[in-house]
Symmetry: C2
Subunit: 209 residues, 2 copies
DNA sequence: GTCTATAACGTGATAGAC
DNA sequence: GTCTATCACGTTATAGAC
């Protein structure tokens, strides 16, 4: 694309400044509401440079979207598919990791879901979500427990929706949550941290119904 | 704004055709990605007529947003505040009503949440969400049960996030859910219908941890 | 690589005939 | 009330100097 650097000496190259600014603005406003001028200004560079490095708004956006999707899936797929750990353990690690990731990047889920609504097929195929979730070792362990009668017979898909929903939804609805609870950002984070331990307990309880 | 009709004889007035088309397009694509030409075309009318009836894109959007917010809150606030019914009963009715409403208008939650991300304060104040949710009779009953030791001591806010999240999240993430489950629209609806009975059970189980 | 100036285009809104 | 034609503006992208 441009600028081959001989080493990763300096993290604040122009290209990176633009990409970092683009990530912030796209995450907050989505593709359609974002103007390339916003990104250029946030990056502290000239508008022409954006096109010089990334050719077009869409190309830059696709790059950010791909990275965001990877961040959302890769951060957990290795947990899901670790054959050495128990179901219980996976559940706990997953909640901790996801909530930490979302605390740091709270705009990612709504960003992905909003854009997914307009271009579903193109994007979904990129993330191998079925492989990462429904066909994971985690779900295999889940199904075995169902068969052995240790937990009640819920469809794995229902369980996955509950798991991801309990983790993700508060972040997606954070403006509402903060508003009805009169919460500062710090208080909101604290509430989310509490959920790290609560969600695994809740999910286990749900499985015993 | 225009066209005073002497009676509601005909539901397909031009004004209504535009509003109905606007609702569909705005819900699907959001404010920024929607072009007034899209709405006009969907309504089968001329672009000029849109401005004749609603003066501007923003005015039309505000109208749709207000209606959507009301649909999301009013459909349940009377259930929440019915002083004659039990906590249990409210929980069941709420799930049934919400899931039915969302099955009919599945785009409303993501529409609201997306737009909320850009204009939080302006919108949140419009819906009296605190009155409808946290200060409701439903939450009063919840807190009493906590005090009497019948259920474990979860913060009401955590409980509300779980309740709404379990109901709403699958619709917000429906493209992903359909994709990983290989579900047709009909199968997805069936999955949601199952949740009407499951969610109250799950929530009760969670409260016993 | 970085900038200024500008082209090319899309979109919201209006004027004016019917 | 409804249409066609058009304006006015904002935005993406590029040309060309440095």
């Amino acid at each position: 694309m441009a600028g081959k650097r001989t080493s990763a000496k300096n993290d604040t190259t122009t290209e990176l400044k633009i990409k970092n600014a683009a990530r912030v603005v796209f995450h907050q406003k989505g593709f359609a509401a974002t103007r390339t001028r916003d990104i250029a200004e946030a990056a502290g560079i000239n508008l022409a440079l954006l096109n010089y490095y990334f050719r077009s708004k869409k190309k830059l956006f696709d790059l950010i979207m791909l990275e965001s999707l990877q961040q959302f899936t890769l951060s957990v797929s290795d947990v899901f598919n670790d054959e050495k750990t128990t179901f219980e353990h996976k559940l706990q690690v997953l909640c901790r990791r996801y909530i930490d990731m979302l605390t740091e990047h709270p705009d990612i889920p709504l960003f992905i879901l909003s854009e997914l609504r307009t271009n579903p097929n193109e994007l979904i195929s990129r993330i191998h979500i079925k492989e990462n979730l429904l066909k994971s070792h985690f779900i295999k362990q889940f199904s075995e427990q169902v068969k052995s009668g240790k937990i009640s017979a819920i469809a794995p898909l229902q369980f996955m929706m509950n798991l991801i929903g309990l983790i993700v939804f508060p972040f997606v609805a954070s403006p509402i949550v903060k508003s009805i609870g009169d919460l500062s950002q710090e208080e909101f984070v604290k509430l989310m941290q509490e959920r790290k331990a609560l969600i695994p307990k809740w999910l286990n309880a749900m499985l015993e119904v």
